[in-house]
């Protein structure tokens, strides 16, 4: 408690508080961007109290909470925040927020989807090229001295002309599609609903999309419907040369079944930034050269983080000034 007193001594104690249960990476790296004349941060993680006790003691009048994947906003948490009116996440994904409960109680939610699209798409394309052209594996080959010892590396697979199925054509999916077109790929997509103004062929199920694609790029949100949507059936239909890239959420893919398919050579390769149980990654993948792994980093550039922090602060300032939120999540 003393810690909090010190921190708010030099600021007006009338500033409304924004609860932060655990700091999102963007706060850890760019805290200076969160200093505002309109609010102050209430940092739950700095207290020695158990969370529910802390919230009961200190968060009774908190109207806004800043969260991330590491600090989900569950119905239980919401229950301990009787004044809560706004949930802000510094991420694009909102699967760690009980949206149903928020909607029921009229709690607004904002996310940071738009600012991450370019970096996310860049990483998706980077992973796809890496898997097809074996960039990381070839880099290891060179660094291990195998080029003079064993000669030419194995041939890769051409990106141009490939049929790439994009799963989810929101901000990320659209940005990925635009890039892939420049490489001469044919873009196909699946999404909850068909988008009329989009030039790419629409497939109403992921299975049909996979059957007609050489590669799949997962760009959709994690919901009850999309959990384990990519399973053995979909992967088998993608085929032995098929490549899957996931920059969305690990749980969209049935990870156990995907690992089995990879180990057995039933699909051609995978580029994965996300996993079902981060930071744990199935160890069977570590020995595979047709897999490229990334530690949930696809949006981790300074530009994305600065933009995300500005968006979070912008949303908070708008909220506390009774102005329209900048990036509200629209319930469907």
């Amino acid at each position: 408690m003393e810690h909090h007193q010190e921190r708010s001594d030099h600021r007006s104690q009338d500033l409304p508080q924004v609860l932060v249960i655990k700091p999102p990476p963007v706060l850890t790296l760019f805290e200076d961007k969160f200093i505002s004349s309109k609010f102050q941060l209430l940092k739950a993680w700095e207290s020695t109290l158990p969370l529910d006790q802390f919230l009961t003691n200190y968060a009774g009048s908190v109207r806004a909470v800043l969260c991330s994947g590491a600090s989900p906003i569950t119905a239980d948490i919401i229950r301990l925040l009787p004044s809560l009116q706004l949930v802000i996440t510094a991420s694009a994904g909102v699967n760690h927020i009980d949206l149903t409960e928020c909607r029921r109680l009229g709690i607004a939610v904002t996310n940071a989807a738009g600012v991450f699209s370019d970096d996310g798409a860049d990483a998706a394309v980077g992973l796809l090229i890496d898997v097809l052209r074996k960039v990381s594996a070839a880099d290891r080959y060179v660094r291990n001295g195998l080029w003079p010892a064993k000669g030419d590396y194995a041939l890769g697979s051409k990106l141009g002309g490939k049929r790439v199925g994009v799963v989810g054509l929101g901000g990320f999916g659209s940005a990925v599609a635009k890039r892939l077109e420049a490489f001469g790929c044919t873009v196909l997509y699946n999404s909850r609903t068909q988008k009329p103004s989009v030039p790419y062929p629409f497939y109403s199920t992921v299975l049909e999309l996979a059957a007609d694609s050489d590669s799949l790029i997962i760009c959709c949100g994690l919901t009850a419907e999309t959990r384990h949507m990519i399973n053995r059936e979909v992967l088998l239909v993608l085929g032995k040369q098929g490549v899957i890239v996931n920059i969305a959420r690990g749980a969209i893919i049935n990870e156990k079944e995907m690992v089995e398919c990879l180990v057995r050579g039933e699909i051609g390769g995978a580029g994965l930034d996300v996993f079902e149980n981060e930071p744990n990654v199935p160890e069977e993948l570590f020995g595979l050269d047709n897999v490229v792994l990334s530690p949930h980093r696809v949006v981790f550039t300074p530009e994305s983080f600065v933009a995300a922090s500005e968006l979070v602060v912008g949303n908070l300032e708008a909220f506390f000034s009774n102005k329209p939120l900048l990036s509200p999540v629209i319930y469907e």
Partner: protein, 314 residues
């Protein structure tokens, strides 16, 4: 045609060798490495065609030893391993494999840039080594929107530009002369190009003029926040200067497919996190290798049937 003697200079691609064998009387130079003199004694005057590549082409010595050589068909687009002057003098035709490999090389250029800036290989290693359990990885560098400077705006350079534009990268270039039908900004001087871009991509042909075109001055102009991508020829870059710039942090990073002394890239680079090194794989996909091989075969068949060459250089 089955009696026509064709010499292939080094192992390139099994499919190519097989296709050559079904059509011609094929000699593999490396089968005779222990008895070269004898081989040339017996067969040199029969050989009418040479198939070479980026490792072993057709230099003056080889051409001089083949008095009845009519055509050199290179399994590459680059011609730096062929003595073109000698071929011109002797009236020997030369073909290469343009266009069919443009996409793959351009794809790799962008792939290398993404790999270096976004630390794809480093992240992969981070996860494989089990380090993610111990803590998070840091930030990488954004690729979209970075200014890309291309050295040589030929087929491959233009293809790289087109791809980079989809990432909203402003494009500028340097070449021998300004290209008429483009809106990209032109720099007469490569140092100015390097000073005004964040990612410099080498995509020109290797000639006497472009040897070491990326030198200390260019590297300094590119600077500690700049990146060099080379998918052209190792000799385009003053490699010792590049290595010391990377070791000393005077250059932000590099993605390299080619080196001055293949297959031995400078070992001092192996420990660096801001470089990506691949073993001359620019056109190494199954699809493109086959297309290149088919083009070599088609050029040879056209020549020996008295038909126009498909992709003549001279």
């Amino acid at each position: 045609m089955n009696n026509t003697c064709v010499l292939v200079t080094c192992p390139m691609f099994t499919y190519l060798e097989q296709e050559l064998e079904t059509r011609f009387n094929l000699f593999k130079l490396w089968d005779h490495s222990s008895s070269k003199a004898e081989f040339f004694n017996n067969y040199s005057s029969s050989i009418k065609a040479v198939v070479g590549n980026t490792k072993v082409g057709a230099d003056a010595k080889l051409i001089d030893s083949l008095p009845n050589l009519e055509i050199v068909a290179s399994y590459s687009v680059g011609l730096d391993k062929i003595d073109l002057d000698k071929c011109k003098q002797r009236g020997i035709k030369v073909t290469n494999t343009p266009d069919v490999l443009t996409d793959d090389v351009a794809d790799l250029a962008i792939g290398l840039a993404l790999a270096v800036l976004r630390k794809v290989c480093v992240c992969d290693q981070f996860v494989r080594s089990g380090n993610w359990i111990n803590g998070d990885f840091g930030l990488a560098t954004k690729f979209s929107g970075k200014s890309v400077g291309i050295v040589g705006l030929g087929r491959i350079g233009s293809a790289i530009a087109k791809r980079a534009e989809a990432f909203q990268c402003p494009i500028s270039y340097h070449s021998r002369s300004k290209k008429p039908n483009t809106n990209y900004k032109y720099y007469l001087n490569i140092v100015d190009l390097a000073a005004n871009c964040e990612i410099l991509v080498v995509a020109c042909a290797l000639t006497e003029e472009t040897h070491h075109i990326v030198n200390r001055k260019v590297i300094d102009a590119l600077g500690p926040k700049g990146f060099l991508i080379n998918i052209a020829r190792g000799a385009h870059v003053d490699e010792p200067e590049l290595v010391s710039a990377l070791l000393e942090g005077r250059l932000g990073g590099a993605g390299l497919d080619v080196f001055e002394n293949e297959p031995e890239p400078p070992e001092q680079l192996f420990a660096l996190d801001n470089v990506v090194l691949v073993p001359h794989v620019g056109s190494d996909t199954g699809e493109t290798s086959k297309a290149m091989a088919d083009l070599v075969i088609s050029n040879l068949e056209a020549h020996f049937k008295g038909k126009p060459l498909l992709t003549p250089v001279i």
